[in-house]
Symmetry: C2
Subunit: 247 residues, 2 copies
């Protein structure tokens, strides 16, 4: 085992050194060895290096500083557009304007994204994965001029690490692995699975500062609220429709 | 660069040798270093080793022989159930029964899946990713007893390789990488991007055998038809509703 997964961490601060275009191209080419549906490679990657381009993307990512400070921002998209154009150029009628096809392409895009991440980290680059990509997809679609059947599903900020943050905690493997069928966690299981996370000094401090009773309330009441999720779900569905994926 | 991505191939035939439980556990543990939303690890993995378990899953995967012949089948699920149970045990009210939350969890699950795949292949295992998982999710949900807020998004058959198939083709990197904004492919671009794929002897033979005019028609008329996609999209939406993700 040579890939250093045990020591990987998200990197949010980068040195001034640029990411060489030839290196980036090689990593993207290598990542394309990832298997995809029917070997159709239902993804595309928009590379943002310009100051204006990053500034246009930043608001969609809640102006997190990585977006404007990283030398490179990659927006990885579920893409049935290129395949559909190919079909139309070849007397074939594409039928990919539906939810299943969106999920097929999103799957291809996310698997590709993670292979790229592994290879980039192995090459010494530091990455931050921005889950915000699907919170407000429309401004990203506008900024990158994404046509119908192209939908952003992941964003990576990429650069050379200027920090080495501590490793973050993980749940024990028995919390997410199930033998033969799903075993619903009992309250006792929950206590066991979450004990280490809840006992972390930074989490205890976070709960205190926010005047909450439990760590779980930080997630449900502050970070990922029902109200925000439902509002953004409606926006997501509307944007999926606009991009042609909900026929 | 030590991970052998350039030579990775999908493996569909396996030797009789079992996959050691300790090895599998280590790979799943290591893969859980993958970043996730709020570090919540919104996924779970059901491990199927039993003959009956594999037989129950096979029909949902069109009875592809890997499912019953591989020593291990992993079904990776988007999972907001464990997190929601945790919240309820901690006086917190979860709000994750919506489309955005499904996509958040599916993203976590797919990134985890690909890290696992990389690590497993590096350990010498052979894998086949089954995209069929989201075609007919209901029988998988039934077979694995998945509760609400758990949804299968990926399946891997895992074993020791008993074949070394040729490397499959890939589109050139310029077909899927865009500088600063999306550049819609022209008919000339399409010719360039797909020339090598269309010229492969096996693809020419496949078109001839199926009495089609073009390779693209193999995809639109036989492998992934509009009619099937729309039928399965309706099923997918219905199952998302049943699993509690479309409030």
């Amino acid at each position: 085992m040579t890939y250093s997964i045990q020591t990987r961490r998200t990197i949010r601060r980068y040195t001034a050194r640029d990411v060489d275009a030839a290196l980036l191209n090689r990593l993207l080419t290598d990542a394309s060895r990832t298997q995809t549906m029917g070997n159709l490679q239902l993804y595309s990657v928009v590379v943002t290096r310009s100051v204006e381009g990053k500034a246009a993307l930043a608001p969609a990512h809640f102006n997190q500083p990585m977006v404007t400070q990283a030398p490179v921002v990659l927006t990885i998209c579920a893409d049935f557009r290129r395949t559909s154009v190919w079909a139309r150029c070849r007397q074939a009628e594409p039928g990919y304007d539906n939810l299943l096809s969106f999920l097929n392409a999103a799957t291809d895009a996310l698997l590709f994204t993670q292979t790229f991440s592994t290879l980039a980290e192995e090459a010494g680059l530091g990455l931050c994965f921005l889950g915000t990509t699907i919170y407000m997809p429309q401004p990203i679609i506008d900024a990158l001029k994404l046509p119908q059947l192209v939908f952003p599903v992941a964003t990576l900020t990429v650069g050379w690490p200027a920090e080495e943050p501590p490793l973050s905690d993980r749940l024990p493997v028995e919390s997410f692995v199930h033998d033969e069928s799903y075993h619903d966690p009992t309250p006792g299981d929950i206590d066991r699975f979450y004990a280490a996370k809840e006992a972390l000094p930074e989490n205890i401090e976070f709960v205190r500062l926010n005047k909450k009773q439990t760590l779980a309330q930080i997630f449900t009441d502050i970070r990922y609220t029902k109200k925000d999720n439902e509002l953004m779900s409606r926006g997501l569905l509307e944007t999926l429709r606009k991009q042609g994926f909900m026929k």
